[in-house]
Amino acid sequence: MLHSLRTSLTWLHTWSGLLLGSILFAVFWMGTLSVFDREIDRWMMPETRHVLPSHDISMDAISESVAAIVPVETSRWQFTMPSAREPIVRVYYQDEEEFHRIHLDPDTLKVVEGRDTLGATGFIFPFHYSLMLRWNMLGYWIVGLAAMAMLVLLVSGVIIHKKIFLDFFTFRSRNKLSRSSLDLHNLTGVLGLPFHFLITLSGLIIFISIYLPGVMDRTYRGDATEFSSEAFGNYIQVPAGEAGGELVSLDSLRQRAEAKWGGSKVYFTRIWNPNDANATVEMRRNREDAVPLNLDLIAFDGDSGNIYSIHKSGPVMTAQRWIAGFHFIQFDHWTLRWIYFVLGLFGCILIGSGFVIWIETRRKQHELEGKISSRIVEGLAVASITGVIIATLAFFVANRLLPAGAGLMHIGRAELEVWIFFIVWAGTAIHAGLRNKTNLLAWIEQCRGIVCLSLLAVILNWLTTGDHLLTSLSQGFWAIVGMDIMLLLGAMTSLFVTHKLSQGMTNRASAQVKTDITPTPGSLGTEARA
């Protein structure tokens, strides 16, 4: 019977957490890694490890280099200027078949050859919001549902917490697992509440046009073009006309754009119909110097240099972009970046400890009653928590091990890395199902897997690139230093957890033996009664 608000909310908290906890953990884990997506990219794409040049790079020189590479018939190409987090020129162009990405050395502006990979910006980040399920936007909807559940979980968690103020700082780490997990769950849930609530809410607000399409439909009477023009600055493209037009100097356009934006830099440039009299040059404003993820753009006529379209967000979109900027953290602020990373990990601990509480509070009773539900949930928890971490590490290891031309049937190298992620993840789920018959064994073995794969990733980075920790330090490759140190710290933490879990398993086994040999009352007559 659900006879009080607290009981009802406890039920809601327990079951929504149980049903969506796995997805929430994966989303939080990938989101936490996405805070350093460009740094992970540098680790996964060794050819892009450069030091940002101190001089200004000419856009005309970039344009010349790109024009020599891309096919003449391309409908568009685009590039991002080098930055501290991405010290190379990233170029995309489209041919008849697909979109291609290439990197230019910031000093020579020559193409740097590397192994094909999606990296963190191409896999970890999109997985965070779409689970890579693009069919009918299914992944977006699942993540949206999980995010709504997270908001419910956070609010209901505060209401059902019996001693929210008395236990504000309480963490009884030496008590039994169910108690220490509950303390950790409460601690990360209550202290991290402002961040976790706002980061989840902002995630939902970012995809407002997906989750609440009706609002846009009604406001703009179904005119999606008008909405995207007003909200995002999308403009109607001039169709290709006469071939062979000459592009106006990009540097002069950059100067004009930067003057209009009060000195704020251009970070992105796109050329539509590049070899045509109707070429358009689109320039977008830098997003590193402020919180809002601005959508400011200026589109110039590529032939005359006249302004064709200009966009600056209105008040509502400015607010939405501030919220998006808070979530996407594209601004240049290293202290905040690290704080986000730590708080993201708190989120993972919050979700993981929730699973552990459910299992630990029911394990004994379920064993006595012969129920298998706690075993099933434990298997799910192992695959969702340690499993996704192992799969991510396998993704990194595969990146270092697969040769440049690797492929399988029609799967290219970059897709192969992603396949390895999913296959390993499925493997951890099978392992968790098979090995959780003995208490904690599946956890222990997968934690060992994390230790091995983390160390392997660091060693492989050294062997395949020559950049060990000291070399990266001396060359000032801070992204690589950070990644290697985080992998080593992850290995150490996992080793510590393995040790603690092994101790716990031994204690439980000896307690079980004691229970088995302790006579039940009545079986030994007077002795037992005494």
Partner: protein, 101 residues
Amino acid sequence: MITLASFMIAFAGFTFIALTQNKPRKILCGGAGQGQSQKRWYRLIATTLLLLSLILIISNEGWSFGSIMWGTLITIAAMTVSMGLTFFTAPFRKLVRVTKL
């Protein structure tokens, strides 16, 4: 530097809050009792310190970055107090004793 100062002030603020609660007070002061008026004073000091850390960080980072910074930094500060109470009890106790709280 200002960020670190703001963090330390927030940490001090949360330590004052912890000292108004039974369990942390027992850990840090060995169960020395506390009157209602002292509790009120500690809460007032804690609020002042947390506001001071907000003002400091806003003045340094501006409203946009400052508000995010403070909102996230206080979580880390409160968590540090909790971890201090759990894993670094002796030095934390010494700190409280030295500052005569």
